[in-house]
């Protein structure tokens, strides 16, 4: 399966290599660099690059290319999914997955990779198991280790892998037992010029942070489970129970995990919480263009729209933009032609607007592309689909846990065409 892994940074240096079978020369990455050169944008590198003797499968995360070398037929998604899992694990361990973090913790990284693959086939990818094998480096532990010379590697070999619930480590103990669930929904939408919705859908996830002693068995039920059209579960969720009763029943992993992701059925009309009034125009013959943008709340169920961020890729002909925001700050990068406006909170009484002019290249004809406007926002304490958790119960343990549920709505890929 996976022969080798190369980590390549944005400037094209290979800063880490790991081989699970015989060593593959790093010159194989030249094919990758060729592809990188050909691609106009960093994300346009094809995920699978065939070379005479190997195939390179790469993913780009945090401006690092993770390039896996494989030699024979293997489902490409298998490798891609695994590479993403590696990145997630690094993030879990080091907080961020940057070149610096990886270089600083190169030994831990190596130990992790050694455990995650055996002969190129995934062995332990569950973060609970890995954390038992290799303790994540914390500041305190680094200090203690330096002084006492003790190690990061668990003395005890993991037991989770052998149990019926491989995702949960055994012997968990907490003084404060708590279980928090975040219901986060994202709206993906394309709004056309006139403000009508072309497509809009809601995707949601339930992220959990469970710190419970022992082996708790949880059930989570919804007020309106019918809203959930398509779901995918963490392996801990009992599928049969969901099918029969629409109840999530599971023994949770320890710590943070994604319990569920779902898609809200497309029959329901999606409430669009913001609207945009825009007027972006270029006049023929003149080297000036007009730019006007006004945001306003719409269908927010009385909640405030926060952390609004507007960005737009302006046409290549635009040299500079001279704008005046009624609130927040804006930046325009004359090289990438990216305009971004950090609005903050939308005040329904005084709608935020950004007005001004754009200067064009003199003599150049009027650009015929229209920029699209991407919007990000957050609405706290609201699940826009109306999904509500009914109750959370715990079985199998005696104590009373502290439970909490939080709702949030965010913009996913929210685009307004002009």
């Amino acid at each position: 399966m996976i022969h080798s892994l190369f980590l390549i940074n944005a400037s094209g240096d290979i800063f880490l290599e790991k081989h699970w079978k015989s060593v593959v020369s790093r010159s194989v990455c030249d094919y990758f660099f060729e592809a990188l050169e050909r691609a106009t944008e960093p994300e346009n590198v094809p995920p699978v690059i065939p070379t005479p003797h190997h195939y390179l499968i790469n993913v780009l995360r945090h401006r690092i290319y993770f390039v896996a070398v494989i030699q024979s037929e293997v489902p490409p998604l298998f490798v891609i999914e695994f590479l993403h899992r590696v990145v997630d694990t690094f993030q879990d361990y080091f907080g961020v997955c940057t070149e610096a973090a990886i270089k600083d913790n190169v030994v831990v990284v190596y130990e992790l990779l050694e455990e995650m693959l055996d002969n190129g086939f995934p062995l332990a990818t569950e973060s609970n198991i890995l954390k038992e094998l290799i303790k994540p480096p914390t500041i305190l532990r680094t200090v203690v280790n330096t002084i006492t010379g003790s190690t990061n590697v668990g003395e005890q070999l993991p037991t989770g892998q052998l149990s019926v619930v491989p995702w949960r480590r055994t012997g968990v103990k907490y003084t404060n037992n708590e279980a928090y669930f975040d219901v986060v929904e994202e709206i993906d939408a394309i709004i056309d010029k006139s403000g009508s919705t072309i497509t809009a859908e809601i995707q949601g996830v339930i992220d959990a942070c469970v710190k419970l002693t022992g082996m708790p068995d949880l059930t989570l039920s919804f007020m309106n489970p019918r809203l959930l059209d398509d779901v995918s579960f963490h392996p801990c969720v009992r599928f049969k129970r969901w099918e029969a009763e629409r109840i999530l029943s599971f023994i949770p992993p320890d710590g943070n995990f994604r319990l569920l992701s779902y898609h809200v059925s497309s029959q329901n009309l999606v409430a669009i919480p913001v609207y945009v009034k825009h007027n972006i125009s270029f006049r023929e013959g003149s080297s000036q263009g007009r730019f006007e943008l006004t945001l306003g709340p719409k269908q927010t169920m009385g909640k405030a729209v926060e952390s609004v961020l507007v960005s737009s890729q302006l046409p290549r002909g635009v040299l500079n933009a001279n704008l005046n925001p009624s609130q927040g700050t804006y930046t325009f990068d004359p090289v990438t032609k990216l305009l971004s406006w950090d609005v903050g909170k939308i005040n329904p009484q005084k709608l935020p607007s950004l007005k001004g002019s754009m200067s064009l290249q003199t003599g150049a004809s009027k650009p015929d592309e229209n920029p699209t406007i991407n919007i990000q926002f957050k609405i706290q304490q609201l699940a826009i689909s109306g999904l509500k958790v009914n109750r959370l119960d715990m079985y199998g343990e005696k104590y009373k846990p502290f439970k909490g549920i939080k709702y949030m709505t965010k913009a996913g890929k929210f685009q307004v065409r002009t």
């Binding site: 399966m1 800063f15 880490l16 290599e17 790991k18 079978k21 015989s22 790093r26 106009t40 094809p46 065939p50 195939y55 993913v59 995360r61 024979s72 037929e73 489902p75 490409p76 998604l77 298998f78 891609i80 999914e81 190169v106 030994v107 990284v109 190596y110 130990e111 050694e114 055996d118 002969n119 086939f121 990818t125 500041i139 200090v143 330096t146 010379g149 190690t151 990061n152 590697v153 070999l157 052998l162 993906d188 056309d192 072309i198 497509t199 995707q203 059209d229 398509d230 995918s232 579960f233 392996p235 599928f239 994604r258 992701s261 890729q313 229209n370 699209t372 991407n374 890929k413 685009q415």
Partner: protein, 1053 residues
């Protein structure tokens, strides 16, 4: 705290700098060696960490090997682990030193802690040192029967490692795989199937008995294992079950438009359907097939994209048409994932949308393109949208496309224009709208957009040129401005092709082009010549001089193709005294009505690759790709999977079966791997055969009765008892037939008879059982009972004996020698049998035996003449390499070698003659050597050699078979069958053996060579392919022939 940390970091850096300077200026790694040799664990750890960091950066640290290996037994677990990392990395380079560490691991293998055993095995098997192969083999075998499933999992992981290190261990490893496949824990399942896929993916027979178990365990297997198992089961199901869309698949071929077919088409469909129905029985899905579909469905909900994709491809390839739809939703969900996942999913969706458009239509809007998508994703989405377009949604799709054309991403805009073109060709209603839209784009400011539009318009116009002369005029004007060569060429071609529609403009364009001829690109030049030729033929008055001018320019062009084209065209169109016969047809050649191009999706026909595979993504076969087999015409015997059901019956049968399994394990060492396995399966086979075949005694019915036997299995069982006597009579008849029949059918017959014998005992067992509990009447129960019966006998006698007794005739040749020495004992055992069974059943056994031996002696002469004849027909010329097809040991005494005789294979000139030599190294004769079940790549064919009736002990025979490899070096796989055994064999030709031998005298050869080499270079220029799109296709085909012939000569020289 912070300052302290900073201090630590600084100290660390200082030290690092010191060490670096050390490394560079004084000795290499000397301080590290010192640290490793010290007594302090912390120093060792520090050193190992640095070494690992160096390895990670790709620095060579192999000179530290001795110092590091010493620490393999270190107490500190982290040091130990890092030493392992080092060891696995460098052991291959320093094999001798690596051996020092082996004893540590061997000790580890015996540790009471399962996790230490597992990690020892893991490292041991990762050390790629050939010398320790036997040790590894032993360790794997031991671990495979370890108590702990975790260790067994590690053993499964170790199998492919050993296989890649030493492929000769394959047979033993298959044995281990077989054992581990029977494992019931979810932990092992994924890993062992993984090993199966790497070591012996074609041994589908190992899966039969574990099929149901794998299906049932699937949901609990870890996600990576699920992917591997699902992919394997997809292939398995393709070989074992019937196509659930038998009836639909016929319709699909007739046309994709079956959805909105006109009336007469529907009638046709009905007819074919009726014909199909008449031919086949109504389709009933095998319950095992259903089981697979049912148990994989929940996995569509997995969080792992690879699992979802695996299930999706399983449904696409295996499910009835009506059920495939459920995967669409899950695949659309994956589109929310990372862009790499999107990329792969969209590729697969694109392929699916061609075959089953309806599936994704409800999700049309999910494929709308966002400006933030990477270009490669945009283009794939565009592909999907185009495939999904039909009459009802085309207006929304076109509106979407309109906004895409305004995008800033020019590659994407070009792709959008092409997509519009494809929609226009596929959907007649919108052709005019699209054309108008595209014509408007001609006035776009961006040249790329215009060029792309021109190319697309050219294709559209070809469909209905009459109505659009004004568009052609418009495009003729464009030629002054457009610089993109492909667009210029397209315009010129259009004007030339439809010069009669624009009689005034065309000559003028030619005039302009003649002026700029020398500065044009090659494809444009070719089109100018084309235009000139066409105009000359239609309007020679105005253009004669222009044409001659252009041709003269072309005559002195630098490019081969252009000079050739000019020469060729001049001969054709300009009448000279010695112009050939062709010039009469010049007008026909040039102004023939060209078929309109079909704009096809690049994803068409990609579904012959298993979806979700790397090969599918690349649209080329990746190494190690296992072809997805076609559905079988008739289902193989479903009862081969029965073993597992027996276990699910909770009562008495359970304990016997367990005993049974234990017994089988003990069995194995007696036989070489596949023998041990074929014993039980064979008996199971013959039983079920007897179930269905009892009515129709001929063996050929067995294969056809697959679906029947499933239903009739229970019936026959109950009938069995009543028909007891009747069958006895039948068997006698049967016997008579056997005597009359030719020995060719003998083996089958004898098998049958042994089968009937088996069944007899089974039936007897059932009778016993009946007395115990009357309700039990399932076929499985009888089977297991049968086996347990055997065991009770086995207890009293030696193993080989029992086998001989069971199948005295069909027994393996190697055992024949023993047979003689134990003749008396055998008689004894036969007598034993008599105690068990009514006399008549044992009667047929001996006569058949007798008969066979007499026939054998008769036929010996025949086979001898064969050996004499073979060498004369094909005299091997010179030194020809012999390849091994079947080794003496794996073939149990039968050795098979083959060579490419490099002689023409007279029955079929396309085939390569393969000379096969069989040698019987045993002391007994081998009978009925023939080839069965060839599994070939598409297009490949085999002409089998005539069956070798008998091969006496020590003799060898040479035969010739023909294989058409279709000019590929893909292996031809088939089974080599003797009267008792089947061997998998595969012949892979080296490239050099694929040529047609041609006999030439030296002079002839030189002559040909002279001709060809002068002609050759121009055919290798890439413009050949461009030719065919514009001018007559026939021509380029002719060129192609020439070039391939010349290639052949070059190879020969």
């Amino acid at each position: 705290m912070d300052t302290f940390l900073r201090y630590l970091k600084e100290r660390e850096q200082e030290r690092l700098i010191k060490i670096l300077s050390f490394m560079i200026y004084i000795f290499r790694h000397d301080d590290l060696k010192e640290m490793l040799d010290s007594n302090k664990d912390s120093l060792k750890l520090e050193a190992m960490k640095r070494i690992v960091a160096m390895i990670a950066r790709g620095k060579n640290t192999s000179d530290l090997f001795p110092a590091v290996v010493k620490n393999v037994a270190c107490k500190n677990i982290e040091v130990k682990k890092l030493v392992y990392v080092y060891l696995v990395r460098y052991a291959e380079e320093q094999q001798d030193l690596a051996l020092l560490s082996i004893s540590t691991f061997q000790r580890g293998l015996k540790d009471p802690n399962q996790l230490i055993r597992a990690s020892a095995l893991r490292v041991l098997s990762s050390i790629r040192v050939t010398i320790i192969v036997p040790i590894m083999m032993l360790a794997i075998k031991e671990a495979a029967s370890d108590m702990s499933p975790y260790v067994r999992k590690t053993a499964a992981h170790a199998i492919p490692k050993l296989h890649s290190l030493d492929p000769e261990q394959k047979d033993q490893l298959i044995e281990v795989i077989e054992k581990l496949l029977a494992d019931k824990t979810t932990l092992v399942a994924g890993s062992v199937v993984m090993a199966f896929e790497e070591v012996c993916p074609d041994r589908i027979d190992l899966i039969h008995k574990n099929y149901r178990k794998l299906c049932n365990l699937l949901i609990d297997v870890e996600e990576w294992g699920q992917v591997v198992i699902i992919n394997m089961l997809t292939r398995y199901a393709r070989t074992q079950f019937l196509n659930p869309n038998v009836n639909e698949s016929l319709l699909e071929d007739s046309s994709e438009k079956a959805f909105y077919a006109s009336d007469d088409e529907e009638d046709e469909d009905k007819k074919t359907e009726a014909a199909a129905l008449a031919k086949r029985k109504p389709y009933v899905m095998d319950p095992d097939h259903r089981l697979l579909l049912r148990n994989t469905k929940p996995l569509l909900q997995s969080r792992n994209a690879a699992v979802v994709m695996a299930v999706a491809q399983l449904y696409f390839h295996l499910a009835p048409k009506a059920e495939v739809g459920i995967i669409a939703k899950a695949l659309v969900r994956l589109m929310r994932s990372h862009s790499e996942v999107q990329y792969v999913v969209l590729q697969n969706v694109a392929t699916m949308t061609i075959k089953r458009r309806g599936m994704f239509e409800p999700y049309l809007k999910s494929f709308y393109i966002r400006s933030t998508d990477p270009t490669q994703i945009k283009i794939l989405k565009l592909e999907v949208l185009t495939n999904l377009a039909n009459e009802t949604n085309i207006s929304t799709i076109l509106r979407e496309f309109q906004t895409y054309i305004k995008s800033m991403d020019k590659d994407f805009v070009a792709a959008s224009i092409q997509a519009i073109g494809r929609c226009a060709t596929n959907i007649g209603e919108v052709r005019d709208t699209c054309l108008n839209g595209l014509v408007q784009l001609l006035s776009n400011r961006d040249e790329l957009v215009v060029a792309e539009s021109v190319v697309v318009i050219k294709k559209l116009l070809q469909m209905q040129p009459e109505q659009h002369s004004d568009i052609i005029k418009h495009m003729a004007k464009l030629i002054d401005n457009i610089q993109v060569p492909m667009a210029r060429a397209s315009i010129l071609w259009l004007i030339g092709e439809y010069c009669e529609h624009v009689p005034k403009i065309a000559p003028d364009v030619l005039r302009k082009m003649a002026k700029t001829f020398t500065n044009e690109e090659d494809i444009v030049k070719l089109q100018i010549i084309n235009l000139a030729a066409k105009l000359y033929l239609t309007n020679s008055k105005q253009t004669k001089l222009l044409t001659q001018y252009v041709l003269n320019l072309a005559k002195y062009d630098q490019n081969y193709d252009i000079r050739d084209r000019a020469r060729f065209i001049r001969q054709l169109i300009v009448p000279t005294d010695k112009s050939g016969a062709l010039s009469k047809y010049a007008k026909k050649l040039f102004l023939a009505l060209k078929p309109a191009p079909v704009l096809e999706s690049p994803f068409k026909d990609r579904d012959h690759f298993q979806l979700g595979s790397l090969s599918h993504l690349l649209n080329a076969k990746a190494g190690g790709y296992q072809e997805l087999p076609d559905w079988p015409e008739s289902a193989p015997d479903p009862s081969v999977r029965n073993v597992e059901v027996k276990d699910s019956i909770p009562d008495w049968s359970k304990c016997t079966s367990r005993k049974d399994r234990k017994e089988k394990k003990v069995d194995k060492p007696f036989y070489s791997d596949s023998e041990g396995e074929s014993g039980p399966t064979e008996s199971a086979d013959s039983e079920s055969d007897s179930g269905s075949g009892s009515e129709s005694a001929s063996a050929s019915d067995e294969s056809g009765s697959g679906s029947e036997s499933e239903e009739s299995g229970e019936e026959t069982e109950s009938e069995d008892e009543e028909e007891d006597e009747e069958k006895e009579k039948k068997r006698k008849k049967h016997l008579d037939k056997t005597k009359a029949k030719k020995p060719a059918e003998e083996s089958a017959e004898s098998e049958q008879s042994s089968g009937t014998e088996d069944r007899k005992r089974g039936r007897k067992a059932v009778k016993n059982q009946k007395s115990a509990s009357e309700s039990e009447s399932e076929s499985e129960s009888s089977e297991s009972e049968d086996e347990s019966e055997e065991e009770s006998e086995e207890e009293s006698e030696s193993d080989t004996d029992i086998r001989k007794k069971k199948t005295p005739v069909s027994k393996q040749p190697p055992k024949q020698s023993k047979k003689e020495s134990k003749k008396e004992k055998q008689e004894m055992s036969l007598l034993d049998l008599d105690d068990f069974e009514p006399a008549p059943t044992s009667a047929p056994v001996t006569p058949v035996n007798f008969l066979s031996s007499s026939l054998v002696s008769d036929l010996e002469g025949l086979s001898l003449t064969d050996t004499i004849l073979a060498p004369t027909t094909i005299a091997p010329s010179g030194l020809i390499k012999l390849y091994e097809l079947l080794h003496r040991i794996t073939g149990e005494g039968l050795a098979v070698e083959y060579c490419f005789s490099r002689q023409p294979f007279s029955p079929d000139p396309n085939m390569v003659a393969v000379q096969i030599q069989f040698t019987n190294n045993t002391n007994s004769e081998t009978k009925n050597l023939h080839i069965k079940e060839p599994r070939l790549q598409s297009g490949m064919r085999i002409r089998e050699f005539a069956e070798i009736e008998v091969l006496a002990a020590g003799e060898s025979v040479t035969v010739v078979m023909g294989i058409d490899f279709c000019d590929s070096t893909q292996a031809a796989n088939f089974q080599l069958c003797t009267h008792t055994r089947k061997f998998f064999a595969s012949i892979q030709p080296p490239v050099g053996e694929l040529m047609t031998p041609v006999f030439l005298t030296e002079n002839d050869f030189k002559k040909e060579q002279g001709k060809r080499t002068s002609a050759h270079p121009r055919f290798s220029t890439p413009s050949c392919s461009i030719d065919c799109s514009f001018s007559s296709k026939r021509l380029s085909f002719f060129f192609f022939l020439c070039s391939s012939v010349s290639l052949k000569f070059i190879f020969n020289s």
